[in-house]
């Protein structure tokens, strides 16, 4: 009861101040399930720019409120960990590498993800989203810049009040875990990357 009162009170304040409630999509990256296959003996560069890391997204929550988060910042670690399950070496890059950097870092592939999200809640009283989706579009390019494979996966997360009362970001974190799990499976099973 106290929790419902707190969440409702937060909604009142947020509505009055015009703010969105901040949540984090990261979750516990150490719990992303590993693959049954050995990592491919390849080195990949994961490109996430500083502008992407700073970008904030605002989507609907419950009770007419909104939630805000930084998708690239929040998914950076889960994506990095999941790529580490697929490939032997992962290097994070702040920009698309030029030929010199590709050679210096011995990159076999360059991966540039784009992230799209949705959120919603039918609740009139509580603001945390009950449903969340994370769509990860990842193009994998070879050192010449040619796209080897493009994967597009969507992870979903659902959390009711009894589940999210201790973690208001739960639906988003479940969607993130689902998306990166699907991404690593899709990449590990892609015949184009086995060559």
């Amino acid at each position: 009861m106290a929790l419902i009162r707190m969440i409702a009170a937060a909604s009142v304040v947020a509505a009055l101040s015009g703010c969105a409630h901040e949540i984090s999509l990261t979750g516990d990256a150490s719990k992303i399930p590993t693959l049954s296959t050995k990592p491919l003996d390849k080195t990949v560069g994961l490109v996430i720019t500083d502008d992407q890391l700073a970008s904030e997204v605002i989507t609907p929550g419950g009770g007419g409120d909104k939630v805000s988060y930084h998708p690239y910042h929040d998914l950076e670690l889960p994506i990095y960990v999941s790529l580490g399950h697929v490939f032997k070496n992962v290097t994070k890059l702040k920009s698309v590498p030029d030929a010199a950097m590709i050679q210096a870092k011995h990159l076999d592939y360059v991966i540039a993800p784009t992230i799209k999200t949705t959120s919603s809640s039918p609740s009139l009283v509580t603001w945390p989203p009950t449903d969340f989706s994370v769509t990860l579009a990842c193009s994998v390019a070879d050192p010449s810049g040619q796209t080897v494979i493009a994967e597009d996966v969507t992870g979903t997360g659902h959390a009711e009040f009894s589940q999210f009362k201790r973690n208001f970001s739960l639906a988003g974190q479940l969607a993130t875990a689902d998306a990166v799990s699907k991404l690593q499976s899709a990449l590990a099973n892609a015949p184009e990357l086995q060559k």
């Binding site: 009170a9 304040v13 009055l16 101040s17 703010c19 409630h21 670690l77």
Partner: protein, 186 residues
């Protein structure tokens, strides 16, 4: 009557929040920090004692306006710092409990201010690296972070709570960026 209702609806959330205890979020490793540790190719270390030195700028729990922020790890922010470093060493593949290289630390400053316009965290810690009983590294590192705050405590306090792990990430980032530290753990 309308004014009274409006005043009550404005004041109620603040009353509900007053003197609450909040717990800092679990530490999430930073990818740049993991990469810095990975760059020390032959590094392997174990975590020794991490303590917290109580002081004016390092009280426990940490006050966030009328709220008090506690650590989710062993009721100590020294233990929180140890947990943070352990997670990053594990993800970098550099944690070795049998290693003769031991990292110890004392948290000296752990201050979070929650202003009406700006929030800020100031952290500093004394890090020591020992190898077979010999000190190989002995330095104090500091980090200062800042963020947009708000007048309403219901917005400002959760924001400050969520910013705390980012300040810890920055403190550890300062340590890992020191070539002398990376040399000491190899």
């Amino acid at each position: 009557m309308r004014t009274v209702v409006r005043a009550v609806s404005l004041v109620t959330p603040f009353v509900l929040l007053s003197a609450c205890s909040v717990v800092a979020p679990q530490y999430s490793p930073d990818v740049d920090n993991i990469q810095s540790l990975k760059s020390a190719t032959t590094a392997h270390a174990k975590i020794g004692a991490f303590e917290s030195h109580a002081d004016a700028g390092n009280s426990y729990p940490v006050p966030l306006r009328a709220n008090m922020m506690k650590s989710p790890v062993e009721d100590s922010f020294g233990a929180y710092l140890a947990d943070a470093m352990t997670k990053e060493l594990v993800m970098a593949g550099k944690l070795a409990p049998q290693s003769d290289v031991e990292i110890k630390a004392t948290l000296l400053e752990n201050d979070v201010s929650v202003g009406v316009i700006t929030g800020a965290a100031k952290l500093s810690a004394h890090f020591i690296v020992m190898r077979a009983g010999t000190v190989r590294y002995d330095q104090i590192k500091s980090a200062h972070t800042q963020w947009d705050s708000a007048f309403a405590a219901m917005i400002a306090v959760p924001k400050a709570r969520d910013e705390y792990p980012l300040a810890v990430q920055k403190l550890l980032g300062e340590l890992y960026a020191d070539p002398a530290f990376l040399a000491a753990i190899q």
